[in-house]
């Protein structure tokens, strides 16, 4: 499904601030995999997701989706295969546009955008049905500016949008980190529903170890631009926060740097 082959990304190369953000990373995802990613700040989690999404070119290696090499494809062309939700709820939607307009932007992802109306009446019905399932009362607010909604509502809509038009891959970059605990739990539940219903291959970064354990069928831990742990299947089901921390000490030989990961 998704294949990363020896991906390397170096920021500020050949300067004193040189930072190897991704160090020869290789990763293969099977169809329908739900991978959670944990690791301290600066471990390379977001960089990996952005490399897959094409936010910047990588310095080495190859990225393949279903066997197609997308390494050289610009970000907006990769979007055809990839749905994304960002950490900042403001990032995933266009604040000055209506809910229905935002959704129509998503439903045309990867399609040619010509000079036909962006929204037709039967589209509205579809959007209403989709919104209704979020159970946030948004189905009657199609022509509300997204900027007027709360962070949780915006993330939920972004999730819906990311799942539209059958993406091959869903990338979630700490998409609950900016929300209060109650809203975060709700958005996570919606995430789970959407992923299961659409059988989406998903990568979810989280700072919360318990969330990483509870969700998905595979867990990877990153440190200093490398994948240092990769736990799947039965072994993952048996994980606890303690055993995860212990495994981390063993593999990296250092204490887990991030307090947020411990406390979360």
């Amino acid at each position: 499904m998704l294949e990363l082959k020896n991906i390397t990304k170096i920021f500020n190369a050949n300067t004193v601030n040189e930072k190897v953000a991704l160090n020869d990373i290789s990763l293969t995802l099977e169809d329908g995999d739900f991978v959670t990613v944990i690791g301290g700040n600066g471990a390379g989690k977001s960089t990996m997701l952005n490399a897959i999404a094409g936010t910047f070119p990588v310095d080495g290696g190859q990225i393949l989706i279903d066997g197609t090499d997308i390494t050289k494809l610009p970000e907006h062309k990769r979007a055809k295969f990839i749905g994304r939700v960002f950490q900042d709820p403001m990032t995933g939607t266009a604040a000055d546009m209506w809910i229905e307009e935002n959704m129509s932007l998503a439903i045309n992802r990867g399609k040619k955008r010509g000079f036909t109306w962006a929204i037709k009446n039967n589209d509205r019905e579809l959007y209403k049905q989709m919104l209704k399932r979020l159970d946030l009362g948004l189905e009657d607010r199609l022509s509300t500016k997204v900027g007027l909604l709360s962070g949780g509502q915006r993330q939920a809509i972004t999730l819906l949008m990311a799942s539209m038009n059958d993406p091959k891959l869903l990338l979630l970059d700490e998409h609950t980190a900016a929300l209060d605990p109650k809203t975060a739990a709700k958005v996570l539940a919606i995430t789970r529903e959407i992923v299961e219903e659409n059988h989406l291959t998903t990568i979810m970064i989280t700072h919360n170890m318990q969330d990483a354990i509870n969700h998905g069928n595979r867990l990877i831990m990153m440190n200093a631009g490398k994948i240092i742990l990769d736990i799947k299947g039965e072994e993952k089901k048996a994980l606890t926060v303690e055993s995860l921390l212990e495994a981390f000490h063993k593999t990296s030989g250092s204490a887990f740097a991030s307090d947020r990961a411990l406390l979360g």
Binding site: R84, A95, R109, F115
Partner: protein, 299 residues
């Protein structure tokens, strides 16, 4: 009495500036880019229209070529910005300077007369009421066309590009392409207003575009103030901008009538725009009362 007599003329010129301001609105508000090309592309529209008509062309094809030339100006700025990575504001300044030379070359001199008595122009200051009607029709058609355009998939993608670039790219929108198209469209509209201005005033002059961007911004800002809290769709917003252009020009004529030194007019225009552009910042910095709800959330 003199002032009242000047009003139809002021309104007609205001409509022309209103059309220009629609061009500014497309870049400044829809695309969220400050595009300074307009000072040049307005004159390009004037020069192309005037020269073609002087060469015996019919007014309609002459205006069409003028619009296309304006779109070409926007294209250059767009490519400077996207392909070469030059900040939008600098790209516009560079194109504006290029256009100074280009416009001189188009006209072969600093100005070109286009007297309504000799040429079959659409509008002229000699027949102000006639000009008002024709210009109003132009505005209606332009606003309708743009409204429809913003409602298409392509137009929605262009608006998304201006609203949230990161999101737009994540939704598969080629943001660079849409910026270039938006800049071309904007400067095409500006050149149209230039072509109309050349006919109305009976001349094209290399200096006529100076400060056009400021007048455009003024019209956009006045327009926003006028529509205020009215329900906003693009028809209302763009109509507001055109009315803003009229208001600007009527005020302009009035202060001239009241005997203000005309040398100071450009400075005053710029200062008025500066004050209004500062309003959002001033509100945020000095008049911001944090709401209780937000405070407790952040704590």
């Amino acid at each position: 009495m003199g002032l009242l007599n000047a009003m139809p003329g002021a309104a007609a010129q205001g409509l022309i500036w209103g059309i220009m301001a629609i061009g500014v609105y497309i870049t400044f508000k829809v695309l969220d880019l400050a595009d300074l090309t307009v000072d040049g592309s307005m004159v390009t529209g004037m020069a192309v229209c005037a020269m073609l008509m002087a060469a015996g062309w019919n007014v309609w094809p002459a205006m069409l070529i003028a619009v296309l030339a304006g779109m070409g100006c926007g294209l250059v700025t767009g490519l400077f910005h996207t392909l070469m990575g030059i900040p939008a504001i600098l790209s516009g300044i560079l194109t504006q300077l290029i256009l100074w030379s280009v416009n001189l070359k188009i006209m072969g001199k600093a100005n070109q007369a286009l007297p309504a008595r000799t040429f079959d122009v659409l509008i002229s200051q000699l027949e102000k009421y006639h000009a008002l009607v024709i210009l109003a029709l132009f505005c209606v058609v332009l606003v309708t066309l743009l409204y429809c355009f913003f409602g298409t998939k392509f137009g929605a993608a262009l608006r998304a590009t201006g609203c949230n670039e990161k999101m737009a790219r994540a939704q598969g929108i080629n943001t660079d392409m849409h910026k270039v198209v938006g800049l071309a469209l904007s400067n095409g509209v500006v050149a149209l207003s230039g072509a109309l201005m050349a006919q109305y005033s009976g001349k094209a002059d290399i200096n006529d575009g100076r400060g056009a961007i400021v007048i455009g911004l003024a019209a956009v800002i006045i327009g926003e103030a006028i529509i205020g809290k009215m329900p906003q769709n693009y028809i209302v917003r763009m109509t507001g901008v055109i009315v803003g252009g009229i208001v600007y020009y009527v005020v302009y004529q009035t202060v001239i009538f009241l005997g203000l030194d005309t040398d100071l007019l450009k400075m005053l225009s710029a200062l008025v725009v500066a004050v209004f552009l500062a309003v959002p910042h001033l509100k945020k910095t000095y008049f911001n009362k944090p709401r209780k709800k937000e405070v407790s959330k952040n704590a």
